[in-house]
Structure formats: structure tokens, C-alpha cells
């Protein structure tokens, strides 16, 4: 067996994580050994994923790997398979990157916690679960991986169980997460009853031939199941709770990795398994849910007063963008959605890590108790600003590049179909972006700028290890923002293309010509959709121009002694340099996050109080939402699909 054959890389990547988890249980008592194992497992998995870029992304290959070489016999897929196409690899890359960075960060961040070995075990189990999910070619395996990652995520949420709400959040997540997992299982089994196979490729071939009530119900069940994993509205409160309590690197995994697994599941469902069930009707469902998630979560985020909780709601808001774009079912939409999914992992990871840094230094994430950290933690502030600019869609960072594509995709779709509804989706997306900016202005003001409270006097810059991890993400945020064309050519483009080439996926798994012969006329044509971008945006040129202008202005400014400033030199703050309070002496009067945006909140006060009451924090309510969502999905699936 040639281990260097790319064929084996996917299974190695998954195994590395689980093996690492196992080894840490054995040898984890020693700190160096533990860190070494975790680093090697995550680092090697990332390397394997990067090595796969060439054969899969660029050469357009698909790796079909049958466990124990049980290749399909008689047209029936019996064995368990891994199937890695560009889509799977794209998500695999995202996951491996986020996991690697988060692991680097954990080394210094978690060093003061007890039970560290257990942390890394769970951490690697979570990673392995997600990696297994996205590389799997088998529906039941996907379910198993979903369960593994749910367990690991629940346990990690409750890891710091002395933190207020950690247990509570974990329990809520477990209950609703289990409803979701059960839905996936039930959906899987109903599909099995219809198709007598669990292989994704074969399911994709057979399902179109046996349309009916059962298949529609299975779709609804699977869809809701993956929605709980992606925390789409109405499952968003779980994400908010879990993020608030979990340690920062785990938040990175939950938002950057776990939600992606849900999105991946939805894509596989909508584009592969049920591809012939008329994407058009599914569009409304996806786009509607996406837009609602986008808007509801961003408004919820505006009302939060906890740093990490706020970020959690934004996380779902951004997932809403991804879902909307995916739901448009155009080449541009799919590419933009995947691009945004990637960017979301990067910038949200960065933001959670900065939140972790703040928590590490000050012991709180309450926006009302923080302030003025920019003088104490300058590097963290810069990194946070990069992340905030990315998520709020400020050019030239990556959030803008992908959001811009999403606007285009939505509006092009509107123009193409003549449906004004998609125009409103565009408007919601555009306004949501500004609302995102607003809530990050709130965080900036109440955490990093403003006045320094007494309790935070001792804060200092975090260790190099943590800054390094954040720095990687910040650099990636900038680079992917500056070169959208490269990203589109080498990452999102090939991945998006696979969405419209289902037959290729099937044939790679079950042999050439299988799809055509099995499906006959109903085989989806290999859609030759091209990405058409109406607008123009050239970040590098813009940045060059900005730099020229900035440089020129700076030269003029320095020549005219702009930087010859008067500042406080003595120990005591002189009257001249104290803040202006209408003549009064300086007092501590930080304008906290809760005081901001009154003008906006006042106009929306009924909405906000309604939403506040709705998010009651009672697990029964959240389960009820899940049941209602399931019922609605079923009704929709039965009527429309």
C-alpha cells in the first residue's frame, strides 16, 4: 500500500484527529507530549488537506475511497465510502485551518485550566467528527459524525463548568441538538427504506426516481437536522448560549467549523441528494430562512451586552448570508456563498480569539464593565479591528469581497427571474451589513476605546502564542479580501462548480456512465453555468490608490508638523490634557455598549422587547421552536416539493 497516494489522504486526515484524541488520553498527563500530539495531529491534517488541493481543486479529480476496498458490486454500494470532491475538500480545508489556529491558540489560552488532557481529547474528537462529516460519502456515517461532534461540542461548552451558564448552555444545546440528530437519523432511515442504500452517490441517483411523500418527509427531517447543526433561525439561541460559555478556541470551532458542517449538510441535501426535486422550490425555503436568520440575528446581536454572545449572534447572521447565497442556485450565488463561508470561518475565528484574549486579561466579557483596552492591548486591538472591518464588510477585507458577490448574486437573480422578492433579499443583505457595522462600533467603543475602568488597570498584552494565532487569521482575512479572483479560481470556483455536476459525483463513485444508465432521461444535465459578475471591484488597485493618497497626505501632514502635538508628559494629568466635561474635573464616565444606538432602538422598541421575551432561555421553548420548525418544514416539503 502506497501511503503517499492522495487516495489515502482523506482517511488519514480523519484518523489523525481521532488518533490524537486517543493518544492524549494515554499520554496527556505530560504537558509537552500533549501539546506535541495536538500540534502534530492538527498540523498534519492541515498539510494533508493542502496537498489535496492540487489533485482535486485544480485538476478537478474526485477521490472515492472504499473502506476495506469494498468497491460496489452489481451496481450496489455496500461498503462504507469516503468521497472527496471539491466541495468536501473546500470545507475540509476550512476546518483544518480553523482547527489548527484554534489549537495553537489553546496552547497558551487553556494553560491555566485544569483537566487540560480532557480538553484536547474532546477538542480533537470534535475536529475529527467534523472532518469525517464533510469527507464522508455515506449518509449514516454523516449521522455518526454529527453525533460525535455534537457530544464533543456539548462537553466542551460545559468544559468551564464554573462559568455562569456553561452547564445550562450545554444542556440546552444537548436537548435541541439531539432533536436535530434524531431528525437526521429518522430522515436517513426513511431514505434507506426508499432506496435501500446509504451511499450518497447512489442515493442521489435513486431518490429522483422514487419521489413521493416519504422522500419529501425525509428531506424535511434531514434539512431540519442540519439546520440545528448550522444554528439557522429558530435554533440560533443555542449558538448564542454555547458561545457565551465555551472557551474561546471552542467558540472558534463551534462558529467556524460546526456551523459549516451544517451548511455542508444542507448543500449536500439540496444540491446532490434532492437535486431533481426542483431546486426552484427549495430556493424560497433556503433564501427565506437565510434572510430571516441574517436579519433576526443581527438585530439580536445589537441588543446584546456580552461580547461573546454578541459575536455568537453575528455568527448566525453571517451563516444567514451563506444560506441565502447558496439558496439562489446560481453559479455566482454558490461561489459567493462558499466564499462567505470561508471568510466567516476566518473573521469570526479572529473575533472570538480576540474576545478570548480580552476575557483572559480582564476576566469578563461584559461590555458594560470593559473599556479603554486599546492602550493596554494595542496588538489585540488592531487584530480586532481587522476582524470587525472584515465582518462588517469594510473594503478591502474579505467580508466585503464575499458580501459584495452575494449582493450581486441576489440582485442578478432578481433581474433574471423578475421576482422583486430577491431584490428585497438584496436590500436586507445590504442593510444587515450596516447593522453589523453598528454593533461592531458598539464593541469597539465599549471594549477597546473609551475610558479604562479601574478593574482593567492590570490588563496587559496577551502572550505571543495567542497573538500569533490571531495574526494568522488576520493575515488570511486580508489576503483573501485582497485577491478575490484567486480565491474564486482556486477554491470557491471549483467547489461551486461541483454543485452543478451531480452526475460527475455519482459516476466518480459508482463507475463511469452509472448515473446516465440508472437515471435515464431524468439525469440532471451537466449544467454549464458560468459565473457572471456585473460589478467591478479591484481591491488591490484600490488599496494601492489609497496607499498613494495616504502617503501623500502623510507627507504633507508631516511636512506641516501635523505630528507636533502637545501631550501629557508629567505623571499627573494636567488640566490641559484632561477630557472636557464642561469644565468639571475628569470622572469615569464610559459610554457603555448598552447606551449606544438609542435612536435606532427607540424606533424598534416593540420589536426588541418582543424578541427579548421570545428568547426566554427556557429549554422547553427552544424545543418547541424546533418542533414547530420541523412541522413547517414537513408541511412545506409535502405541499411544494
Amino acid at each position: 500500500m502506497n501511503f503517499l497516494n492522495p487516495q489515502h489522504f482523506p482517511i488519514f486526515a480523519i484518523m489523525l484527529y481521532f488518533l490524537g484524541a486517543f493518544l492524549i488520553v494515554l499520554f496527556g498527563k505530560n504537558r509537552a507530549a500533549r501539546n506535541c500530539i495536538a500540534f502534530l495531529a492538527t498540523g498534519l491534517a492541515l498539510t494533508l488537506m493542502i496537498l489535496l488541493v492540487k489533485p482535486i481543486m485544480i485538476d478537478g479529480g474526485i477521490i472515492a475511497y472504499w473502506m476495506g476496498s469494498r468497491v460496489p458490486a452489481g451496481g450496489y454500494a455496500i461498503g462504507i465510502a469516503l468521497e472527496v470532491d471539491a466541495l468536501g475538500l473546500f470545507f475540509g480545508l476550512l476546518i483544518a485551518t480553523a482547527v489548527f489556529v484554534s489549537c495553537l491558540y489553546s496552547f497558551s489560552y487553556m494553560s491555566e485550566d485544569d483537566n487540560e488532557p480532557q480538553y484536547y481529547t474532546l477538542f480533537l474528537m470534535l475536529c475529527g467528527g467534523v472532518m469525517g462529516l464533510v469527507l464522508s460519502g455515506d449518509l449514516f456515517n454523516m449521522f455518526i459524525m454529527v453525533e460525535i461532534l455534537t457530544f464533543a461540542a456539548v462537553a466542551l461548552t460545559a468544559f468551564r463548568n464554573r462559568v455562569t451558564g456553561a452547564l445550562e448552555a450545554a444542556f440546552k444545546y444537548l436537548v435541541v441538538g439531539c432533536i436535530g440528530s434524531t431528525c437526521i437519523l429518522a430522515g436517513t432511515i426513511i431514505l434507506y427504506q426508499q432506496a435501500h442504500t446509504l451511499n450518497l452517490a447512489q442515493l442521489a441517483t435513486i431518490i429522483p426516481l422514487c419521489k413521493g411523500t416519504n422522500v419529501s418527509i425525509a428531506f424535511a427531517l434531514l434539512f431540519i437536522g442540519f439546520c440545528t447543526k448550522a444554528f439557522i433561525v429558530p435554533f440560533h439561541p443555542l449558538a448564542a448560549d454555547a458561545h457565551g460559555a465555551a472557551p474561546a478556541p471552542v467558540s472558534v470551532l463551534i462558529s467556524g467549523v460546526l456551523t459549516k458542517s451544517g451548511i455542508y449538510g444542507i448543500i449536500r441535501l439540496a444540491y446532490f441528494l434532492f437535486q431533481t426535486m426542483n431546486l426552484g422550490t427549495m430556493q424560497f425555503w433556503l433564501v427565506f430562512l437565510g434572510s430571516v436568520s441574517m436579519f433576526v440575528c443581527v438585530t439580536m446581536a445589537l441588543a446584546q451586552h456580552d461580547f461573546k454572545r454578541l459575536l455568537a449572534f453575528h455568527s448566525i447572521s453571517q451563516i444567514g448570508y451563506v444560506l441565502t447565497a447558496i439558496g439562489l442556485a446560481t453559479a455566482l450565488g454558490a461561489s459567493a456563498g462558499l466564499y462567505h463561508a470561508m471568510n466567516h470561518t476566518l473573521f469570526k475565528g479572529l473575533l472570538f480569539l480576540t474576545a478570548g484574549a480580552v476575557l483572559h486579561e480582564t476576566g469578563t466579557t461584559d461590555l458594560g464593565k470593559l473599556g479603554g483596552l486599546s492602550k493596554k492591548m494595542p496588538h489585540t486591538t488592531v487584530l480586532f479591528l481587522i476582524g470587525a472591518a472584515s465582518i462588517s464588510g469594510i473594503p478591502p477585507f474579505n467580508g466585503f469581497a464575499s458580501k459584495w458577490l452575494i449582493y450581486q448574486a441576489a440582485y442578478e437573480k432578481a433581474a433574471e427571474t423578475g421576482n422583486i422578492g430577491f431584490a428585497f433579499v438584496t436590500i436586507v443583505a445590504l442593510v444587515t451589513s450596516t447593522l453589523t457595522l453598528a454593533s461592531f462600533v458598539k464593541v469597539t467603543q465599549s471594549v477597546f476605546f473609551g475610558q479604562l475602568p479601574k478593574e482593567c488597570e492590570n490588563a496587559k498584552e496577551v502572550s505571543f502564542g495567542m497573538r500569533f494565532a490571531m495574526g494568522i487569521l488576520a493575515v488570511l482575512c486580508t489576503v483573501t479580501g485582497l485577491f478575490p479572483n484567486l480565491v474564486q479560481t482556486y477554491l470557491t470556483g471549483p467547489a461551486a462548480k461541483t454543485l452543478f455536476h451531480v452526475t460527475r459525483y455519482i459516476n466518480a463513485m459508482l463507475g463511469e456512465g452509472y448515473a446516465e444508465s440508472a437515471m435515464g432521461a431524468s439525469a440532471p444535465e451537466a449544467a454549464t453555468r458560468t459565473i457572471e459578475i456585473v460589478g467591478v471591484w479591484n481591491p488591490v488597485n484600490w488599496l494601492a490608490l489609497l496607499m498613494i493618497a495616504l502617503l501623500a497626505i502623510c507627507i504633507v501632514a508631516i511636512a506641516s508638523k501635523y505630528d507636533a502635538v502637545r501631550e501629557n508628559k508629567s505623571e499627573k494629568v494636567e488640566a490641559k490634557y484632561s477630557l472636557f466635561y464642561g469644565g468639571e474635573d475628569t470622572v469615569f464616565s464610559q459610554v457603555g455598549g448598552g447606551d449606544l444606538f438609542w435612536g435606532f432602538k427607540h424606533n424598534w422598541r416593540h420589536y426588541f422587547s418582543f424578541m427579548h421575551d421570545l428568547h426566554s432561555g427556557i429549554v422547553n421553548d427552544y424545543s418547541l421552536w424546533a418542533v414547530i420548525a420541523l412541522a413547517l418544514a414537513m408541511v412545506y416539503a409535502l405541499i411544494v416539493l
Binding site: 506641516s560 488640566a575 490641559k576 472636557f580 464642561g582 469644565g583 474635573d585
Partner: protein, 148 residues
Amino acid sequence: MFKKLIEESTGKSPWLFHINAGSCNGCDIELVSVLTPRYDAERLGFKLAGSPRHADIVVVTGPITQQSLPRVLRSIEQVPDPKCIVTMGSCPQSGNVFRGSYSVAGPLSKYVHVDVDVAGCTPKPEAVIDGLYLATQILQEKRKGMKK
């Protein structure tokens, strides 16, 4: 040339910051009336600034009560140079009818250098404009003598 431009401009764009140090409001109203269409001090570039950091000319009205003294001094201190201090009305110059009161700490000239005094109770708007114009001249002189 740049320096000359700045010096020229300094006299043409004086922004006022108004401090009420226990005034009876007579002078305050009169100061506002200076900016009304009838007198329109804006044609000379005068503008009321909201913060002492933006101001060139500090206009002080009222007899400088004990309560207001530290606030007045702090606010004046916060004005960036070159700056001009103008007292408006008789109160900050002499204490006017409040002179000798236990609560009056004035006159202002005891504490800071006052550039222009506009006397009267209250001074007429014409007088105020004249005084402020004088202040702009002083401002320009100060700017010439100032090293950045």
C-alpha cells in the same frame, strides 16, 4: 508662504467659546444677538464652537463665582494656543454690583491674562463686535510670535 497663509487665516476665522461664570444672562443674550442677521458677526468669520478644544477666543461673562472659578480656569486651560481671552460685561472685570460678595472670586485678571475687556452692563453688540475684532488682531499677533 504656508506660514503666511496660516497667519492671515488666524485673524479671519476666530471661533468663540463662551463661558458663563455666574452671569445674569444679559451678556449671554447679547453675545448671541451678535450672531443674528442684524449684526451678523459671521461675516467676520466668527462662529460659536461647542468645545474649548476648537476655540480661539474665550468669552467669559459673569463675575466669576467661587463655584465656577476652577471650571473657568480648567476650560481656559484646555483651549489650544494661540488663544485670546475676552471678558464681556463689567462683571468679570470688576465684579460689577456683585463686587465684594463672599461668593465672588473675580476679577478674572487675577488668575489669567485677559486680552480684551468689553465693558458695559451689558455691552452693546457693536461694542462686542469691536472687542472681538480687537481680539482677532491680538490673536494674529500671538500666532506670529508662536513657535509650533
